[in-house]
Structure formats: structure tokens, C-alpha cells
């Protein structure tokens, strides 16, 4: 009989087993002894010995799924955690076997008269641990959806499981939800954890009292406490410095290190320690849940509440490891756009001192530098991060007894964004292609890949932005021949790698497909909530008006509401943000699709894409403009000039003038899109502003003039066309297309001298000599 302290929040089966073993050692069967020594071998990393014992056990208990299970695990560790596929196969096999045995046993029980003394323990064929391990393996292989779907049935019945396993399942689900940005799932799991393991935090009054308590303790200079105080002061003091160099930051960090010397550094996230100590202290759990809460708030971009909750987390962490709390604080400042502060906090968190987390440190610092527009530094940091990830892989994971934190694919994605920002589409595409293992379900990565293709097209074929005029003959007989500059196909394997317009098209249709799918799911889940545990409230929250929900959250905040209310209100606000973002991505995808189809000379598909773009609700004015322009061109190519004209005349003021298709504000708004909820708006001169170069509103107006001129010219209205193209060229001097159209109109009007002058004045014309020299030689 076990004698456990009922007050301890979490029970440990292992501990109970151990006590059982010590009490009744004499009675223990041989197998139990063997099992025990196998475990101790496993825990001390002697996998060879462990496997030997397991083989003995297997001979005694033939085909016991649990023996086979542990054997698979031990083999995996023995092989340096490299054969994940094999492990999965074996675990699935074990799982199937135990399920079969369990159902056989059940039938047996049913068949046998219940009066007889056959009692089958469900434990014996319980496959929960196996299932969890399968999910863990998928998780480490970045197959989050798979992992999640495997865990789902366990989560449905989580009440029946012992708490250690239940906690592991929950934490895994939380990390999966974070990785997938799935706030709904997160809140369902978190709600459950809050109820089942919640240690009574969350109410505002209590927060206050804790803070009170901690400030009292402040005088007692516990070493850990002082460390975080030091950390804070360092952060504050270094904020005064204006300088922002990496060196300075490091200097500040060494400073801090000196001050913290006495404090033994505790590794980040020590909650799920090695298996030998599989019990959680209430305080650990409390901190961990609080940290996850902050991460949820950061995910849902509820920065205001995140700020409050991270403070609370700091208070709890003061007595233990505060690195994670500091890291989250840094992330919060990063999200706020306070890059300097974020940088200091990141350094103070000390995660770069651990081999396991130095990659993460460099990545996060790289993010900050990216936002500051310092791409060179950012690139160096990302590369450094990748290097430390790969060195981590080469280390013996057996020694650390854990699967390494391989974040390299995430860092690779960041690297891809960076290359794209620096105008290097080939390298960017390589990164995105690598990272697509993790992100292939997200529409955005497909948009990015398509952007790489389009950038390669623009970069690779510079001659497209020029007018080529062939100069033939000499002297009296000199003639100029203007070519419709037929551009080369982009299949050029040498120049652009595998990037091509057809690839761009494939990527875009992937993106559109995924986006439509997720929009469909969204509308479905709005109607019926899919998660069973504690989701009743979600229904109400999501059906409620979002604006209202926001104000509710403010009210509750003031009163000190419950965890759940906070979570639900930021969840619904986040859903709002997400659907807005999806809409923006959809606009971008469709606009790009129309463009690519035009480039590929598929006017029918281009027209379809442009029309879908124009039909989107609340479409940005920029994309509406592009939609009209693409649709009009496609219609021209389909010999439907009248309809084409209708698209252009949407912007017509009076007979012959165009209004601005969009304002500068529209552009800024679009560029900043979702950052509106940041308290401090980002300085538009840094970072993002550089990312996208696009027509200024006046230039867009010029494009309308030029395109209408082209359309009129083909309809034989050369005089009208001439007026239009003149407007266009004042707005877009030196524009290649407009100049060509102007030359065409001049020639059609029989004014070849004007055409000649125009060509000679335009700076973007290259006069290409004929091939006479070749012939003469």
C-alpha cells in the first residue's frame, strides 16, 4: 500500500513502484527485478546492458508489448537517436500488438462468467506510453500535425491517465500548438491543465499578493533573486546607452555575468527533467504554466496582457530559473518594436551560454537585427545559429539523454526571408525549400517561394527593362529596327537554378489551395467547435462580436478576471487577426497568380485570378488596382478590348484624366498591415519599409495612362492615344513600355522623326549593332 502525501499535487507512479519494491523485495518476481535493473541501466545510459536484460525478459515473457516497447526505445538511444523512422515502425508495431491483446483480453472477460476470478489488468496492455512516444518522435521530426492527431485520442481521455503521463501529453500538445500557431488548440489544452493541475494562480488578487511577497523577499538577498534583480538593472541601465552594436551588447553581458558570478546558472526549462526525477514540484509547474500563458498571449499578440503576465512570471521565477521568463520578456519587447530593450533582455537571459540554446539566442538576435534593417549582421547571426544547431546534432545526443533541440529548419526559414530582403532569390528559395518540411501546410511559404521565382525573373533578365534597337547599315542606309523584345524563357538552368515561372505558378496554387482549405475549416469550426474539453466557452466567445470581446477583456482585466476569460478574449481577438492576415495573403497570392499567368501567356487563367482578386471583400486598394490592370491586359490578349477598357475606366475622371488608384496611406497601411495593434508603431524608415518596392500612387496613375494609350492605339484611336501616352510619359519618364507605345503611336501617325527623337532621348534604350562585323570577317 502506498503512503503518499495527499497534499503533493502530482503523484508519481515511479515513486510508488519504488516504494512497493523496497517494501516487498522478497516477494518480487524475477521479472520484476530484471525490469528494475533494465530501467536503472537505461537511466544511467548503459543501453547495451539494458538491451541485454530486455532480451532476457523477452525470453521469459514472450512478446510482451511493454518489453518490446522499451527495447525499441533503448535501441534508439543506443543508435544515437538517429533512426527515427525505424523507431516509429517498431512503436507502431508494439501499439498494434497491445491493442490486439487488449481487445482479446476484453473478449475473454466477456466470455468468461464474471464470477470467476479472472481479472485482467488494463495496465498490462495499455498503449498510452507507446502512443506518447510515437507522438514525441513525430514532434522531433517536425511533423506537428501528425503528432497532434496521435495525441488527440489520449487527450480526450486524459482524465484516466496518471498525472505524469498526462502532463507530458499536455506539454507536448502545448508545444505543438505553439509550433502550429494554433491558439484554439492551445487554449483547449491549457484550460484543461489549468483545471486539472492549476495551482490556483491567475486571479488578479493573488497576483498582487505574490508580488507583495516577492518584494518583501527582495531584502533577503537570496542569490537567485539577486541574479534576476541584477538582470533587470542591467537591462534598464544599458537602455540608456544609445549605441546598439553587438559588441556593446556583449560587453554589457559580460558585465552582467561578472555580477552574477556567484549564481549557478540553471538551464532553461528544466521542468521535464530526466526520467529518473519524474515528478514535478508544484512551484515548477506553476512557473511553467505561467510561462506558457505568456507564450500564448504573445502568440495571440495580446501584448498588454503579456506584459502583465510576464511580470508575474518573473516574480515566480525569481526563486528559480528566470532565463525563460527573461527570454519571453525580450520577445515581448521585440514584438513591441523596442529592439534595443529586446536585445538587452535577450543577452541577460543568458541562453547563449548553453550549447543547447545558443543557436536560439543567435536566431533571436538575428530577428532583432533584421527588424533594424541590418541585414548583414542578421545574416551572420542566422548562419551562426545554424552552425551551432548542426554542431549540436553532431554531439552525442545519447549523452544529453534527450533529443536535441533542432531548430535549424526554423532558422533556415528566417534565413530565407533575409535573402529575399537582400534580393537573393536563389539562396532564399533554397532556404524556403528546406524549411518547407515544417511549413508546407502554411500558405505563406508558398507565396514566398513564388516571390523568389518572380524576383529571379526580374533580376535574371535585366534586358527586359530596356528597349533594344538594332542598328543596321551605315551612313545613308542606317536603319533602326525596334524589336518587340522577346524575352528568353526562364528555364535557364544555369542562371536561375530550378526557379521558373511554372514553379511560381505551382507554388501559388498550392498557397491558394491551402488558404482556401484553412478558411473553410475556420468557418466550420466557427459553427461547431471541434475540441471537446472545456470548449463551451469558446463557442460563446467566438460567436460574440469581436469588438465587444475586446472591451470585455479590458473590463475583466481591470476587475481581475479568470485565466479562462483572458485566454478566450485574446483567442477571439487573435482569430480576428488571423482571418485578416489570411485575407491579405489571399490578395497577394491571387495578384501574383494573375501576374505569373500573364507572364506565361495564359490570359484566361490570368483573367480568372484577377477577377477573383477583384471579388475579394475589403481588398486593399493596391491590389484592386493590380486586379484591374491585370484583368484589362488579359482581356486585351483575349481580344476583348471593350471589357478591357471598362477595367481601366474605373479610375477615369471625366473623359481623359485618371485619379490616383490608391493613396500613399493605403500603401503604408498595407505594409504595416497587422502591426496596428502594437502599442508603439514601428518606425517605417526601418526594416519593413525597405522590403517592398512598388509603384508610387502617381506612377500607378501613369501606368493607367500608358495602358489606356496602348489600348487606344490598337483600336486605331491614335490621336487620343497620343494624348494619353504624353501624360503617361510625364508621370513615368523613361518607362520602357510607355516609350515603346509612344514610338508606336508616333510611327502610326507617320511621325517617324518624333519617334526617332524619342528613342534617342530615352536613357533606357540600347542601340545594338547589327552582325555586320561577324559577316565581314
Amino acid at each position: 500500500m502506498d503512503s503518499r502525501d495527499p497534499s503533493s499535487a502530482v503523484a508519481s507512479d515511479a515513486a510508488r513502484d519504488a516504494s512497493l519494491l523496497s517494501e516487498d523485495a522478497a516477494v518480487l518476481s524475477v521479472t520484476s527485478t530484471l525490469a528494475k535493473s533494465a530501467l536503472s541501466c537505461f537511466q544511467s545510459g548503459k543501453f547495451e546492458d539494458c538491451i541485454d536484460i530486455l532480451i532476457q525478459l523477452d525470453q521469459k515473457q514472450h512478446n510482451d508489448p511493454k518489453v518490446l516497447h522499451n527495447m525499441a526505445i533503448a535501441e534508439y538511444f543506443k543508435g544515437g537517436c538517429s533512426k527515427s523512422k525505424k523507431l516509429l515502425e517498431e512503436l507502431n508495431c508494439v501499439k498494434k500488438q497491445s491493442e490486439e491483446l487488449a481487445s482479446a483480453a476484453r473478449e475473454q472477460v466477456e466470455a468468461v462468467n464474471p464470477g470467476t476470478n479472472v481479472s485482467v489488468s488494463k495496465d498490462q496492455f495499455d498503449s498510452t506510453v507507446t502512443t506518447l512516444n510515437i507522438a514525441v518522435t513525430w514532434f522531433h521530426m517536425h511533423q506537428f500535425t501528425k503528432s497532434s492527431s496521435i495525441l488527440e485520442p489520449l487527450f480526450q481521455n486524459i482524465g484516466r491517465l496518471n498525472e505524469t503521463i498526462a502532463l507530458q501529453i499536455c506539454f507536448l500538445l502545448l508545444d505543438i500548438a505553439l509550433a502550429c500557431h494554433d491558439a484554439v488548440k492551445f487554449s483547449a489544452v491549457f484550460d484543461y491543465m489549468d483545471k486539472a493541475f492549476g495551482v490556483g494562480f491567475g486571479s488578479h488578487e493573488e497576483n498582487g499578493s505574490t508580488m507583495q511577497l516577492s518584494s518583501n523577499q527582495g531584502s533577503k538577498t537570496s542569490s537567485l533573486l539577486s541574479s534576476s534583480v541584477v538582470a533587470d538593472t542591467v537591462a534598464e541601465s544599458s537602455l540608456c546607452e544609445e549605441t546598439l552594436d553587438y559588441d556593446n551588447v556583449l560587453a554589457a553581458e559580460y558585465d552582467a555575468e561578472k555580477r552574477m558570478k556567484s549564481v549557478g546558472h540553471i538551464p532553461a526549462n528544466n521542468l521535464l527533467k530526466t526520467l529518473s526525477e519524474r515528478s514535478f514540484s508544484t512551484a515548477d509547474l506553476k512557473l511553467e504554466l505561467q510561462l506558457y500563458k505568456v507564450r500564448f498571449l504573445l502568440l495571440t499578440r495580446n501584448l498588454k496582457l503579456a506584459k502583465r503576465e510576464v511580470k508575474h512570471a518573473m516574480n515566480i521565477a525569481q526563486k528559480r530559473d528566470s532565463s525563460m521568463a527573461l527570454l519571453l520578456k525580450s520577445q515581448l519587447e521585440y514584438a513591441h518594436g523596442n529592439h534595443q530593450k529586446a536585445m538587452k533582455l535577450l543577452v541577460v537571459s543568458g541562453i547563449h551560454k548553453e550549447a543547447g540554446t545558443s543557436g536560439i539566442f543567435n536566431n533571436n538576435l538575428g530577428c532583432i537585427y533584421y527588424q533594424l534593417g541590418k541585414y548583414e549582421a542578421s545574416s551572420q547571426l542566422f548562419s551562426k545559429a545554424l552552425r551551432s544547431c548542426s554542431s549540436l546534432r553532431n554531439e552525442k545526443p545519447v549523452k544529453t539523454f534527450s533529443l536535441s533541440q533542432n531548430k535549424s529548419l526554423l532558422i533556415t526559414y528566417n534565413m530565407g526571408l533575409l535573402y529575399l530582403a537582400r534580393g537573393e532569390p536563389l539562396l532564399a528559395a533554397q532556404c524556403f525549400q528546406k524549411a518547407s518540411v515544417v511549413f508546407c501546410r502554411q500558405p505563406l511559404i508558398w507565396l514566398r517561394l513564388a516571390e523568389c521565382c518572380m524576383m529571379a525573373l526580374q533580376n535574371g533578365l535585366l534586358d527586359r527593362s530596356e528597349i533594344r534597337v538594332n542598328v543596321v547599315g551605315k551612313g545613308k542606309y542606317r536603319k533602326l529596327m525596334i524589336e518587340e523584345n522577346g524575352h528568353l524563357e526562364l528555364d535557364g538552368s544555369t542562371q536561375c537554378g530550378k526557379l521558373s515561372l511554372p514553379l511560381a505558378r505551382a507554388c501559388l496554387s498550392n498557397g491558394i489551395y491551402l488558404l482556401n482549405e484553412s478558411l473553410l475549416n475556420e468557418s466550420k469550426s466557427d459553427r461547431e467547435s471541434t475540441l471537446s474539453v472545456g470548449m463551451n466557452e469558446t463557442k460563446e466567445a467566438s460567436s460574440a462580436d469581436h469588438g465587444e470581446a475586446n472591451t470585455n477583456s479590458d473590463l475583466k482585466e481591470a476587475k481581475g478576471g479568470l485565466n479562462q476569460d483572458i485566454m478566450q478574449s485574446s483567442l477571439s481577438a487573435f482569430k480576428d487577426i488571423q482571418s485578416r492576415e489570411k485575407l491579405l495573403i489571399k490578395q497577394a497570392l491571387l495578384a501574383n497568380m494573375a501576374y505569373v499567368e500573364l507572364e506565361l501567356e495564359n490570359p484566361i487563367k490570368a483573367l480568372a485570378a484577377a477577377n477573383s482578386l477583384l471579388q475579394l471583400p475589403d481588398c486593399s486598394k493596391i491590389y484592386v488596382f493590380l486586379g484591374h490592370l491585370y484583368a484589362a491586359e488579359a482581356l486585351c490578349l483575349l481580344n476583348r478590348p471593350v471589357e478591357a477598357g471598362a477595367h481601366l475606366s474605373a479610375y477615369l475622371v471625366g473623359q481623359d484624366d485618371f485619379k490616383l488608384p490608391y493613396e500613399q496611406e493605403d500603401f503604408d497601411q498595407w505594409r504595416m498591415h497587422t502591426s496596428s495593434e502594437c502599442e508603439e508603431t514601428l518606425d517605417s524608415s526601418t526594416g519593413n519599409a525597405r522590403d517592398s518596392v512598388f509603384l508610387k500612387p502617381e506612377e500607378a496613375r501613369g501606368a493607367l495612362f500608358a495602358d489606356l494609350a496602348a489600348l487606344l492605339a490598337t483600336q486605331g484611336h491614335h490621336d487620343q492615344a497620343k494624348a494619353m501616352i504624353t501624360h503617361a510619359l510625364t508621370l513615368l519618364p523613361n518607362n520602357v513600355q510607355a516609350t515603346v507605345t509612344a514610338v508606336y503611336i508616333d510611327m502610326m501617325l507617320g511621325r517617324s522623326q518624333d519617334a526617332l527623337t524619342r528613342l534617342k532621348q530615352c536613357t533606357r534604350v540600347s542601340f545594338v549593332p547589327g552582325r555586320l562585323e561577324v559577316r565581314a570577317s
Partner: protein, 442 residues
């Protein structure tokens, strides 16, 4: 038109064509057959295209060259109907161009086989020089442009292009004479004199011709559409992935391996017994202690929703114990409660529910449907003996009073139902008592 298939002539081809154009003393037939033999049909289109462009410039080719050029264009498409000739419209407009030599226009009309111009074969037997020399303008009349266009226009093939930009594309050369300012570029002084030193502004016509032949491409000059590339989707700071270290999700050793599974076995055995008979107090106590010690045991103790009614009948105490332990697992509890509602009404079942109501908070829905079930059980008991019915009614009344007194149910929710029940069974003393209680609460 596929812009990517821009066809350029080969250098040798252009040299051949140039020499053919100059063969003005050979019978045109011979020139054309030489053309056919020296050039592959795949390059015909490109040749015709270049020739047609040069033909638009009256000064580029001399009279005989123009005849041969048109002859080549004619020859390339002579095996097909005239309407398949993509250069038909140019031939027609040249035939009607008053600025051109009449001999050339007549030649074209012969090629087009218009009305009585039908002796192409005869004409082609002459050399170009001979044809021009022997030409008698007085014997010819020339049609209007419209007339010819009507004749051929509706038969004309729209050509290889398919959209309006290409349809209206212009194949035209721009004159850019490179001669000293103030000089007449048309003056013969700028032609290259054989043997003489080249002077500024002088040019060789042949050089220009072969240059044009080589450099001309299929496509003409068309109005160009401005097609802005969509802006790059801006990077929101959340797209850049900030990484937090996650928990070290370890693979878990299954410590239930070969573990002693006898724990709980006693409880399971006792419960199996409990489905059949009332357990002794000490046995009941054993079960209760085990269940308290292992909160998860309740899920593995062998009692399912299906077996619950038996347990309720024999050991209501234990049933309450188990249901209380299940309280934090809503799904399973619901399953068990449903079994409780659906079982036959009895003293024990009511006892279980009554005790549960004081121990845990039960779903309102459950209590409501349980009470409804109680009342309908009483009504249905009519068919059986009256004694049993009265007994049941009494039990229900006591049960309801207890629920009301303990504030488990809100009377208002069930008022009408309970009141009707009391009136129906007013003969039973307890029902009258319950009725009075209802009245006081009203």
C-alpha cells in the same frame, strides 16, 4: 504569338537571299527554284518576314529586287490558297499603291491571279530585267484597294498572331541616316563608290540589306502594356520566427513493464462480487480505501456504465463512491449518469442520486431528467399493484423534498410537473406534504 520563338536567319541564308535578289538577269523561275533548293522550308517564314519589311521601304530595294522579293514571297506559299499567305495584305496594298511602278503592281496582280492577270507562269519565265523592259503600262488597268481587299480580305488568314497587340504590331524601319548635317541623305554621293575611299556618311546598301535580313525578327513593334510586378508581401515581425526553447520532450520508458499488476486486483474481484450481492462492511471499506489511494484506479476497476445498475442495486454506497471519484472526468461521468437515469427506479437508485447531490455538483440536465423519469415511473406503476405504486410515490416524494430542502433543485424549473404529480397522487400522504411544501415556496 510565342515571343520566345523569335526566328533569326542564319548568316549563310541571308547571303543566299541577297545574291538571289541580285540575280536580275536569270529567269525569275530559275531564281525561285534555286531559292527552294537552297533554303529549307522551315526558314521561309523568316525570309518572307524580312523581305516584307524591306519591301515596305521603297528605297531599300531596287525595282528588279522588289520583283524577285515578291516572287519569293509568292513562291513560298504558291502551293496553298492565296488566303493562307500571311503576307497577302502587304501584297494587296502594294498592288494598289500608286507610288509604285506600274510594272511592279501588274506583276503583283499576276501573282495574285486577279481577274485577267493569269499568266504568272509566262511572266516568271522572263528575267526581272526583261519583264520591266517589256512592260507596257497602257494595256493594264489597276483595281482599287477596296476591290482587292473585298476579293481576298475575307479569305485572309488572320495570321500567326492571336491578340490585338500582335495584330496591330508594326513592322517598320526607322530611317536614321548618319550623314553630315545639312546634306541630303538621298544624294547618290553617299553611296559607296567602287574603289573610292569611304567618306563620312557613306553607306553600303548591300551591307544594310544583309544586316536587315539577318537581324529582323518575327515580331513587330506593338504598343506595350505596363504590367507592374506585384509588391513583395511585407514581412510582419511575427513571420520572422522568434524561437523559444521548448520542453525537452523525452521518449518515455514504460515502467509498467513486468510490473506487479496484483494491485487493484482485490478491488476488481470485490467489485465483481458486488454486482451480485451486498458486500460486508469490511469489504466495502477495503474498496473505499483502495479507491482513495489510487485516484486512477476507478478507471480500471472493471465497473462500466453498463454494470453500474447492478452495483447500484446491491451496493449503493460503493456506487456513490465510484461516481464521486469520476467527478473530474465529465465524459465518463455523463456516461455513468445516463445509465443511472435509464435504469429502473428504485429506492437504491434514488438513494445514490440523493447522496451524489450532496457530494458533488451534478449537471442540472441530469437531475431534471432523473426527476422526470421518477414521476413517469410512478405513473407507469399503475398497471402493477397499487401497493408498489404507493411505495414508489412515497419514495419519490421524500426524494424530492430532500432535493428541495437542500437547494439542489430550483422548484420553479419543475413546478408544473411536480405540482401535477402531487395532485395526481394526492391520496398519498407524502404527496400532500410535498404539495404543501411547494405552496410555501411559491
Amino acid at each position: 504569338m510565342n515571343r520566345s520563338t523569335t526566328v533569326l536567319m542564319k548568316i549563310e541564308e541571308s547571303a543566299t537571299v541577297l545574291s538571289l535578289l541580285k540575280s536580275d538577269l536569270l529567269p525569275m523561275e530559275a531564281v525561285l527554284s534555286e531559292f527552294n533548293s537552297k533554303l529549307q522550308s522551315s526558314s521561309h517564314l523568316a525570309v518572307c518576314n524580312s523581305l516584307s519589311m524591306m519591301l515596305q521601304e521603297q528605297k531599300m530595294l531596287c525595282g528588279t529586287e522588289r520583283l524577285i522579293a515578291f516572287g519569293i514571297i509568292y513562291k513560298c506559299y504558291s502551293s496553298q490558297k492565296p488566303s493562307f499567305n500571311p503576307f497577302l495584305s502587304e501584297m494587296i496594298s502594294a498592288a494598289c499603291n500608286e507610288q509604285l511602278e506600274k510594272s511592279e503592281r501588274a506583276f503583283l496582280l499576276h501573282l495574285l491571279q486577279w481577274n485577267n492577270y493569269n499568266n504568272v507562269k509566262e511572266i516568271l519565265k522572263q528575267s526581272a530585267v526583261d519583264y520591266i523592259r517589256s512592260f507596257d503600262p497602257s494595256t493594264h488597268d489597276f483595281p482599287e484597294l477596296g476591290e482587292l481587299q473585298r476579293e481576298y480580305g475575307d479569305k485572309a488568314d488572320p495570321g500567326p498572331s492571336s491578340h490585338i497587340f500582335a495584330d496591330y504590331s508594326l513592322k517598320k524601319l526607322l530611317h536614321d541616316p548618319d550623314v553630315p548635317r545639312g546634306c541630303d541623305p538621298d544624294s547618290p554621293e553617299f553611296d559607296v563608290q567602287p574603289g573610292g575611299n569611304p567618306r563620312i556618311g557613306s553607306g553600303d546598301r548591300d551591307e544594310a540589306l544583309s544586316g536587315l535580313l539577318e537581324n529582323s525578327t518575327m515580331a513587330g513593334l506593338a504598343p506595350r502594356w505596363i504590367r507592374p510586378c506585384p509588391p513583395r508581401y511585407s514581412v510582419h515581425q511575427s513571420e520572422l520566427l522568434w524561437i523559444d526553447p521548448d520542453n525537452k520532450h523525452e521518449l518515455v520508458w514504460d515502467d509498467k513493464m513486468c510490473a506487479d499488476t496484483s494491485r487493484g486486483a482485490t478491488v476488481r474481484d470485490l467489485l465483481v462480487k458486488g454486482l451480485k450481492m451486498t458486500l460486508s462492511p469490511s469489504e466495502q471499506e477495503d474498496i473505499t480505501t483502495e479507491l482513495t489511494n489510487d485516484p486512477k484506479l476507478v478507471y480500471h476497476c472493471g465497473i462500466t456504465a453498463r454494470k453500474l445498475p447492478q452495483l447500484v442495486e446491491h451496493n449503493p454506497q460503493i456506487a456513490v463512491e465510484i461516481l464521486t471519484k469520476l467527478n473530474n472526468n465529465k465524459e465518463i461521468l455523463d456516461e455513468f449518469l445516463a445509465a443511472l437515469v435509464n435504469m429502473d427506479m428504485s429506492l437504491h437508485s434514488m438513494e445514490v442520486v440523493n447522496r451524489l447531490t450532496t457530494a458533488v455538483e451534478l449537471p442540472k440536465e441530469f437531475i431534471r431528467s432523473y426527476i422526470t423519469n421518477c414521476i413517469s415511473s410512478c405513473e407507469n406503476a399503475k398497471q402493477q399493484d397499487k401497493y408498489m405504486q404507493n411505495r414508489l410515490v412515497r419514495l419519490v416524494c421524500v426524494f424530492l423534498q430532500s432535493l428541495i430542502r437542500n437547494n439542489i433543485i430550483n422548484v420553479k424549473d419543475l413546478f408544473i410537473e411536480v405540482q401535477a404529480f402531487c395532485i395526481e397522487f394526492s391520496r398519498v400522504r407524502e404527496a400532500a406534504g410535498l404539495f404543501r411544501l411547494l405552496k410555501t415556496l411559491e
